[in-house]
């Protein structure tokens, strides 16, 4: 190394102001980020007041209500956890509802079959395992379609929606498949110090998924792909492999949802997840994710799922006609997206250009 040209002292410039950090803006951002929890708190307060005025009884301090809301939230939340990953990556998975139904039917059949040969607790585990594995198959197909054949996620998973639906009904013989396994029934309806097993399982699962999204390379790459797939590719991330794993993951979440459905009703039904698909998308959006990809958190989705469950259960509890649920959930979704848009305008985010 001989001498290189001397460092030309770049004309004396002031160190650039690196960020326009403005406390007011970051407060707005913080409120917007936590909006699902604010919604939840607001709703609970409303129902509490309503309930006290109308019946002189507490809403939220009643353990039965809390249990019911938690149970209500479990199935949509399991679908929404997988959906959160998919939506952050900029995709959507419409097949989750019927993958859940397929898994529920498989769980019932597999548990019954295994129960004839091996002890009941093992048969239960075999049933859960079978349902999660079978759910992975449509996930693999979704992933291959989207990553290799460049089918848009909306269309690819819409096709799988039909395929999984048909397969589930065929497998169930068009009816509900009853399940004979006392252990499985206990799993679905038993409680541990007042907390239903289903809720405990879901809570553990959600924490694991939160770890996966927020603390691992898989999660980090998921955010990067959702924001800028070109940048992610240039950074050397294996996009195709990631997308494949992503859709398998979301399908397996739905598979677990199916198994827990079978546990709760001691039966498998093809239509188990039908009404839950859009609830899962709604939970993710209320939880703060953008359908353009790149943002969202698991805990936000938990809050979103709880908001929906509180609305559904609360309106029944205060004796309002059930159809109001749909209106209330719809209004919350729209408000949530409006807050998101407003926050993006404030932060000068470039998401929407």
């Amino acid at each position: 190394m001989t001498s290189t040209s001397p460092a030309q002292p770049a004309e004396k410039h002031v160190a650039p102001q690196a960020d326009h950090g403005d406390p007011a803006r970051s407060l707005i951002a913080r409120i917007a980020d936590g909006r699902a929890w604010l919604f939840l708190a607001g709703l609970i307060i409303c129902f509490e007041i309503w309930s006290r005025l109308a019946f002189g009884a507490t809403f939220v301090l009643n353990p039965f209500n809390l249990q019911s809301i938690a149970i209500f939230a479990v199935a949509p939340l399991l679908l929404a956890t997988g959906q959160t990953f998919v939506i952050i990556s900029g995709g959507i998975d419409l097949s989750l509802g019927f993958i859940m139904g397929l898994a529920a039917v498989v769980a019932a059949h597999a548990t019954n079959m295994a129960g004839a040969a091996i002890p009941l607790p093992l048969a239960m585990l075999a049933g859960i395992l079978a349902s999660v594995i079978v759910a992975g198959v449509p996930g693999i197909i979704n992933g291959l379609l989207i990553s290799r054949l460049k089918v848009p996620p909306f269309i690819g998973t819409l096709g799988m929606f039909g395929v999984a639906r048909g397969a589930a009904f065929l497998l169930a013989g068009g009816t509900t498949v009853p399940m004979q396994n006392s252990w499985f029934a206990l799993l679905g309806n038993g409680k541990f110090y007042g907390v239903p097993y289903l809720v405990i399982i879901t809570a553990i699962f959600v924490i694991v998924m939160h770890y996966l999204l927020s603390q691992t390379r898989f999660g980090q790459h998921n955010y990067a792909i959702g924001a800028n797939v070109q940048a992610a590719r240039r950074a050397g991330i294996d996009i195709r492999g990631h997308i494949l794993r992503l859709y398998v993951l979301s399908a397996m979440c739905a598979g677990l949802g199916g198994a827990l459905y079978a546990a709760r009703f001691t039966a498998g039904a093809a239509q188990a997840g039908e009404p839950l698909l859009l609830d899962s998308v709604a939970a993710v959006v209320i939880g703060g994710a953008s359908l353009f990809g790149g943002s969202g958190t698991i805990f936000g989705t938990v809050a979103g799922a709880l908001v929906i469950a509180v609305i559904q259960y609360g309106l029944v509890f205060v004796n309002v006609e059930p159809f109001w649920q749909f209106i209330a959930v719809g209004v919350v979704i729209i408000i949530s997206v409006l807050i998101d848009q407003a926050q993006r305008r404030f932060s000068g985010g470039r998401q929407d250009d």
Binding site: M1, T2, S3, T4, S5, A7, Q8, A10, E11, H13, A15, P16, A18, D19, H20, G21, Y211, Q215, T216, R217, Q220, H221, Y223, A224, G226, A227, N228, Q230, A231, A232, R234, A235, G236, I237, G294, S295, S347, G348, G349, R350, Q351
Partner: protein, 251 residues
């Protein structure tokens, strides 16, 4: 500034050709970049600038000719291989994940991990933020909010993050494709001063621009491409705007 002429070239391109069927996008092109040297690549649209940088950065395999890195012939099958050898391309856009922090962008695809509670592998955000602070300091950018997503930063600052990533991974050759095109004037100045910093650190820079003012502000030499062939090479100190324009349009 004549001292750079005697230094062994960091990157040398000899008789490089790239044909797409009958189209000769690049023929018999030669140039060299020495440590601490900024070489501007100028030419009209379709002159072959992009083909050249894609051949150097491993996106295309050249049809003929060779690329030498520190005197050793190299061939890159993918951009990753070029990057591992220290050739980093910085595109004017499409370079960053807007929703991630500076550190996360620097480490995108090669995130450092640590063990939480002694067993659980988790992303080492502290190491990423620390590396981001260090790197940006070397580029004379002082960032206070290392956790903020890069969408909060201005265009020039984002360009600095992209350059910072290359610097962190110790790229010796930086290919910059229109780094100032999308920026306002003050921001362009910042990027120009960044290029001065890279030069001072002894890295080689290939700078592609349409803006002659920027080229004259920062480059040591200019290589002009016209219809896939080298139309001329000048030292910046010995040429002027008119001559360069003539070379570009073939007057």
């Amino acid at each position: 500034m004549t001292s750079t002429d005697q230094t062994a070239p960091l990157l040398e391109v000899r008789n490089l050709s790239k044909h797409f069927g009958a189209v000769r996008a690049l023929s018999d092109f030669s140039m060299a970049v020495r440590p601490g040297e900024v070489v501007a690549l100028a030419g009209d649209n379709g002159a072959g600038k992009t083909t050249l940088i894609k051949a150097i950065s491993g996106v295309f395999q050249p049809t003929g000719g060779e690329i030498l890195l520190r005197g050793q012939p190299v061939a890159f099958a993918t951009p990753q291989e070029a990057r591992e050898k220290g050739i980093e391309t910085i595109y004017q856009d499409l370079a960053l994940a807007d929703n991630l922090s500076i550190g996360a962008n620097i480490f995108l695809g090669r995130e450092p991990m640590r063990k939480a509670f002694g067993f659980l592998p988790v992303l080492d955000r502290k190491a990423m933020a620390e590396a981001a602070r260090e790197t940006m300091k070397r580029l004379d950018f002082h960032v206070s909010r290392l956790e903020a997503p890069v969408s909060n930063f201005s265009g020039g600052q984002r360009q600095a993050v992209a350059i910072g990533r290359a610097v962190y991974w110790d790229a010796q050759i930086l290919i910059m494709d229109e780094p100032t095109a999308a920026l306002g004037v003050p921001e362009q100045r910042k990027v120009i001063s960044l290029i001065h910093q890279l030069k001072a650190q002894g890295r080689g820079v290939i700078f592609i621009s349409h803006n002659l003012q920027d080229i004259f502000a920062v480059s040591d030499r200019i290589v002009v491409l016209r219809r896939g062939v080298q139309a001329g090479e000048r030292r910046i100190s010995e040429t002027n705007h008119d001559e360069v324009v003539k070379l570009m349009v073939g007057g």
